[in-house]
């Protein structure tokens, strides 16, 4: 079967029936609870196949998702899905040309993998924990612990930048190294405190100077209260040094990062 699926270059649409935007795969047993949710361009529907169901909504064939509203809608639908039950989130932008294609190319062809994933994820949600340093807190801590660097930095104060350029760079380099080490230790220490509450942890790149930790936790729903409390306690204890950002419950995006047909073109 060779349905003319489009690639990401966005070839122009041929006049045909609407496409289907795919949000998530859920157990077919949960399908009944879906009605009336607004998707990207219309109401969310369920396409079932055996034990699996896909959450979809109709999309005009010539529409290419990518506006802020589209992302918001994607997130809204997935947020609702994880509230209701076990959810495998699709990456943003999965569009298939018909319900038949959703059944055949997603739910049938990848049924075993998806079913196994649903079993593994049963009763679990993703929680994001980020730790941001208070302004200059990391630097302050590093300077407190490294008197020699602090002394050299102090000696530079008030001197013309041009004359001291080399020493400034050298001091800056020493600071940067100490900062990196400190950040790595802080990250490890924070993770050690969080791991006991999670079934699995993914650490994402910090993504900024101020970020001490950017972690994704896979957490059993019934353990959430314990984690909530631990985060509260840590936040209170670390106030003034790092602020914690705690986001969720999210569908397990980070634990389903999977390209089902990585190099395939069309068959």
């Amino acid at each position: 079967m060779s349905d003319p699926t489009r690639d990401s270059s966005g070839a122009t649409a041929s006049p045909q029936a609407t496409s289907q935007y795919v949000y998530a795969v859920i157990p077919a047993a949960d399908a009944a609870s879906w009605a009336g949710a607004e998707g990207i361009d219309g109401g969310v529907r369920v396409v079932e196949e055996g034990d699996l169901a896909a959450l979809v909504s109709a999309l005009p064939p010539d529409k290419t998702p990518g506006r802020r509203e589209d992302l918001e809608a994607h997130r809204r639908v997935l947020g609702r899905a994880i509230e209701r039950g076990t959810t495998i989130p699709m990456r943003f932008g999965m569009v298939m040309d018909s319900d038949e294609l959703v059944r055949e190319r997603l739910l049938q062809k990848h049924g075993p993998e998806l079913s196994e994933m649903l079993r593994d994820l049963d009763g679990k949600v993703q929680m994001t924990v980020r730790a941001f340093y208070a302004e200059d807190a990391l630097l302050g801590a590093v300077m407190s612990a490294n008197r020699e660097i602090a002394r050299r930095a102090a000696a530079l104060q008030g001197l013309p930048e041009v004359q001291t350029r080399e020493e400034r760079i050298a001091v800056g380099e020493a600071v940067a190294k100490a900062v990196d080490e400190r950040r790595a230790r802080d990250e490890a220490a924070l993770l050690d405190r969080l791991r006991p509450y999670a079934d699995d942890v993914r650490v994402d790149p910090a993504g900024g100077d101020r970020v001490a930790l950017n972690a994704q936790l896979l957490v059993q729903r019934e353990r959430r209260p314990e984690l909530d409390e631990a985060i509260r306690d840590m936040g209170a204890m670390l106030k003034g040094y790092v602020a914690l950002r705690y986001i969720g419950p999210l569908p397990p995006y980070s634990f389903t990062a999977l390209s089902l047909e990585p190099n395939e073109n069309e068959d």
Partner: protein, 121 residues
């Protein structure tokens, strides 16, 4: 939007805070991806601004001078609650010591204060 230590459980998060997860994680079949990048690029830039970073060696050196001299300067308003004075940093460092059982060694209390004599400018 201020980011504060959670006191009453988690939040849903701003779109920019979950953008990377939505765009880069989850299950995908590449051949069925249809995405317009124009809108997304703008959002991605927004997301990066959330954790804006500037970290050349020279900027570190500059910042070292700043915390010694301009303790009272207002903090980056949208990222962090509260003001970061030298004292706050010391206190927090102590708290970190408590929390992590002194793995990090004891900070020297006076080390942040550097040569008060040079503070004019």
């Amino acid at each position: 939007m201020a980011i504060s230590t959670p006191s009453s459980g988690p939040s849903g998060g701003a779109l920019t805070e979950v953008l990377e997860l939505i765009l880069d994680r989850g299950v995908v079949i590449d051949v069925f991806v249809r995405v317009s990048l124009v809108g997304i690029e703008i959002l991605t830039i927004d997301a990066r601004v959330v954790v804006a970073s500037v970290d050349t060696y020279l900027r570190y050196a500059e910042a070292v001078g700043r915390i010694n001299l301009d303790n009272k300067k207002a903090g980056v308003p949208e990222l962090m609650e509260g003001r970061k004075t030298e004292k706050a940093i010391e206190n927090a460092t102590d708290k970190l010591g408590e929390l992590f059982g002194g793995i990090f060694g004891q900070p020297a209390k006076d080390a942040v204060q550097v040569e008060p004599g040079k503070e004019e400018r």
